[in-house]
């Protein structure tokens, strides 16, 4: 009985060891992937964005944040951003949106390339569902410039 117990404990330890080796390989790959993708980032800018769901409309024009002001449920609004590549080579632009605004904030173009000194106007559109709760919805738009 004692020998069987020791054997099963040994097997368990071996299994645990295998799981740990697997985890080590998995996270090492993940770590390397993230490290490489971070090294490819040349620049990153973040813009605060928000919309207030209201029963009437209102403009809030701001040059430092992408505010949509008051928008009614079931209605939409657009604002745009001009992105310019000041890097001395062609680069890739990636746009990421975080926050509770991300469910209804749509970007006109993503994962595109810009030549040296080339600029592009990108539209951000808010399309509010009819059943959305009144209130403020915020988020952060990250515009990332990566080596192509």
């Amino acid at each position: 009985m004692g020998k069987i117990k020791v054997k099963s404990e040994k097997k368990k330890t071996e299994k645990l060891g295998l799981v740990l080796i697997f985890l080590l390989i998995f996270f090492s790959i993940l770590f390397l992937f993230l490290l490489i993708s971070n090294l490819l980032i040349l620049d990153k800018k973040q813009i605060f964005t928000n919309v207030i769901v209201s029963n009437y409309s209102g403009f809030d024009l701001n040059s430092t944040a992408l505010k949509f002001g008051f928008v009614e449920r079931g209605q939409s609004a657009q604002r745009s951003v001009i992105i310019k590549n000041d890097f001395d080579k062609k680069a890739k632009i990636i746009i990421k949106i975080k926050g509770n605004i991300s469910d209804f904030l749509i970007v006109s173009e993503n994962n595109f390339f810009l030549e040296k000194n080339q600029s592009k106007e990108i539209d951000f559109s808010i399309l509010l569902p009819e059943d959305l709760m009144f209130g403020e919805y915020n988020g952060v738009i990250s515009i990332i410039l990566k080596k192509s």
Binding site: E9, L35, K44, K45, S57, V81
Partner: protein, 212 residues
């Protein structure tokens, strides 16, 4: 209890130095990977890297679209023997049996700068209503006196909709000042008796551009 304690101690003893190193490395890599996810919080435009090779300009304009579903005139028909019916968002219904609507669109300038306000529709009167001599008009009024200073139109007067470009400049200066920053847009429809049956819908776009 004693047996359980003994087993757990025995388990920890079962890890040899090689396995302990793997465990340590696993945790180290996991922590580094999670750290690499780079969780950031921000307020306004933030430059993450020192080298600014990306240039961002936020355009000083915004478009807000209003679908006419928002003003729901509901079902209705033209009175027998009449050429057309007129309905508006001021509560008037002439020669028809539509329900009264007493409010149009309301727009406020919430920002901290004066803007110029444009209004356009997606369809003209014929595209929207059809039939013979339809009419589709809007009227601008100040909800708060002095909010809108027009140059191309008169306040409290009906104008046919404009479908081209940004539409018609309805407020040359749309004030942001506390009690002077709200305008109303009312609509009037002249529905001919030979207009097509069914539901009709359109989208209005109000565009605000910052005055330099």
């Amino acid at each position: 209890m004693n047996i359980k304690k003994f087993n757990s101690k025995e388990k920890s003893k079962n890890f040899n130095s090689k396995e302990k190193l793997i465990i340590f490395l696993s945790f180290l890599v996991i922590i580094l990977s999670l750290f690499n996810f780079n969780l950031e919080s921000t307020g306004y435009i933030v430059n993450i890297s020192d080298s600014a090779v990306i240039n961002i300009t936020i355009r000083q304009r915004v478009n807000i679209n209003f679908t006419l579903d928002r003003i729901n005139f509901g079902r209705g028909s033209i009175d027998a023997g009449k050429q057309n019916a007129t309905i508006d968002t001021l509560g008037n219904v002439t020669d028809g049996n539509w329900s009264q609507i007493t409010s149009g669109f309301r727009i406020e300038n919430l920002g901290n700068t004066n803007i110029t306000l444009y209004l356009k529709s997606n369809k003209n009167a014929f595209e929207f209503l059809g039939g013979t001599n339809p009419d589709y008009e809007y009227m601008i009024t100040n909800e708060e006196l002095g909010s809108c200073i027009p140059q191309n139109i008169n306040l409290s007067q009906w104008y046919g909709v404009n479908t081209t470009g940004d539409g018609t400049e309805i407020c040359n200066v749309f004030s942001f000042l506390g009690d002077l920053d709200t305008v109303n847009i009312d609509l009037k429809l002249v529905i001919p008796s030979d207009a097509g049956d069914g539901s009709h819908s359109d989208i209005f776009t109000a565009t605000g551009i910052v005055i330099d």
